[in-house]
Amino acid sequence: MENYILPPESLTNEAIAARLTASARNGIEDGSVKKKNLVYLELNGCSGNIISLLNGANPDFEYMMGSMVNLVYSNSLMAAEGEQAIDRLIKAMDEDYILAVEGAVALRDNGLYNIIGSWQGKPLTGLEAAKMLGEKASHILAVGACATHGGVSAARPNPSQSVGLQEVLPDKDMIKLPGCPVHPDWFLGTLAHILLYGDPETDNLGRPLMFYSTLIHDRCPRRPFFDRGIFAEKLGDKTCLFKLGCRGPVTRTDCPTRQWNGHVNWPIGDDTPCIGCAQFGFPDAMAPFISYDTTRVVKDE
């Protein structure tokens, strides 16, 4: 806390990221920071988090690959395929590695609803892979809504009986990065923190405080409208979206200040309510995402 950087040093996202990446690069060059192996496992989900990660800017994905970690396995991004790919996944366990998992773990029929490859002639289920790799990993990151608490994969009626990663690894410490998808900065920033300083400080739900400590509502540029009871009546209105079902008041992320797409925009900045995608229980607990039939002020009453 005492090492705050105060003006006149620039505090923009880009400037902070530049300082972080510079210190990481220096650390790698002088040998005080070691590049670690990263296994990025995709289980029962839509691969939205890895697509989001490819949009990362602070640092970008290329930098992560080249300088921060050795990406030894990724369902989507590696060149190897079939048994050869799974072979690399198994061999990764011989060394120290950080495990990042996106997607939920499908439990139904012993995990057969989510097969990620075949190993020694038998199908390798996501359930087996999560348990096997989770037991040996030095750090575990649950990336995105599905991995942290089941998310969309576990939404009612949940035919695959999907659960979050912690359910199959109940005794392991893991850092949880909810969001649908996760912001590239939340993932890359947490990864950088692990390499530079070790595990980041987390709340009682395992979320890094540096990204998940503040309610969207408390940093919302439309907060003065809420405080004065001025509410939007339809999408596109520039006032508070609370009456349409905005979940900003219960969702803890830094979207209002960090923003998305290389710090260009975010949902409320584009006149749509927050749907609470980074909230545990999303999507079922956050429904309805939008409501036109609610407690708005009726003038003729």
Binding site: Y4, F225, F226, I230, T239, K243, V250, S291
Partner: protein, 169 residues
């Protein structure tokens, strides 16, 4: 015109407060004080932004009024605040509700949103955690004694912030 003067004064006082906060942040070494000042700076900036919108809508409406044309619809910001008297029943504190009566207060079509916990009926219409009269999959107009106990056990302070409407019988 008087309104515009008042808004201008508010903006000016917020700016002086912000300047003072910036000075304090740059000299203090107490991290808690820094956090508080940063928070207040943020709030001051959002309020300035809001007042700026108000001033702009004032300016637009005065231009359209002076040009004799039909008045353009302005931002809702210039509307008066909704009066609490819009729902007369809100002012009766010891009203009693049956569970069927409570179900009418579901927050739909402009109706207020009430929920019961431990036999007391609370108004959640404007509660920040009850957007669209729903809260983590729960809809208003029901008795949530069990649900409150399972999620917020021992957190009676949450209930203390809600306006009490009456009792569930």
């Amino acid at each position: 015109m008087q309104n515009i003067r008042m808004l201008q004064q508010q903006v000016n006082s917020l700016i002086s407060q912000a300047k003072h906060d910036i000075y304090t942040i740059s000299v203090t070494s107490d991290p808690t004080a820094k956090q508080l000042r940063l928070q207040r700076l943020w709030d001051a900036l959002t309020s300035i932004q809001f007042l700026n919108e108000l001033l702009a809508s004032h300016a637009i409406s005065s231009i359209s009024a002076s040009s004799n044309g039909p008045a353009q619809p302005t931002m809702p910001a210039s509307q008066p605040l909704p009066a609490p008297a819009a729902y007369p029943e809100l002012t009766l504190p010891n009203q009693t509700f049956t569970i069927q009566e409570l179900s009418n207060y579901d927050g739909k079509n402009g109706r207020p949103a009430y929920v019961a916990v431990g036999g007391v009926v609370y108004d959640v219409t404007n509660n920040r955690a009850w957007a669209a009269a729903t809260h983590f999959g729960l809809v208003s107009g029901k008795d949530y004694t069990q649900e409150f106990a399972s999620c917020h056990a021992g957190q009676k302070s949450i209930l203390a912030t809600l306006p009490v409407i009456g009792r569930l019988v």
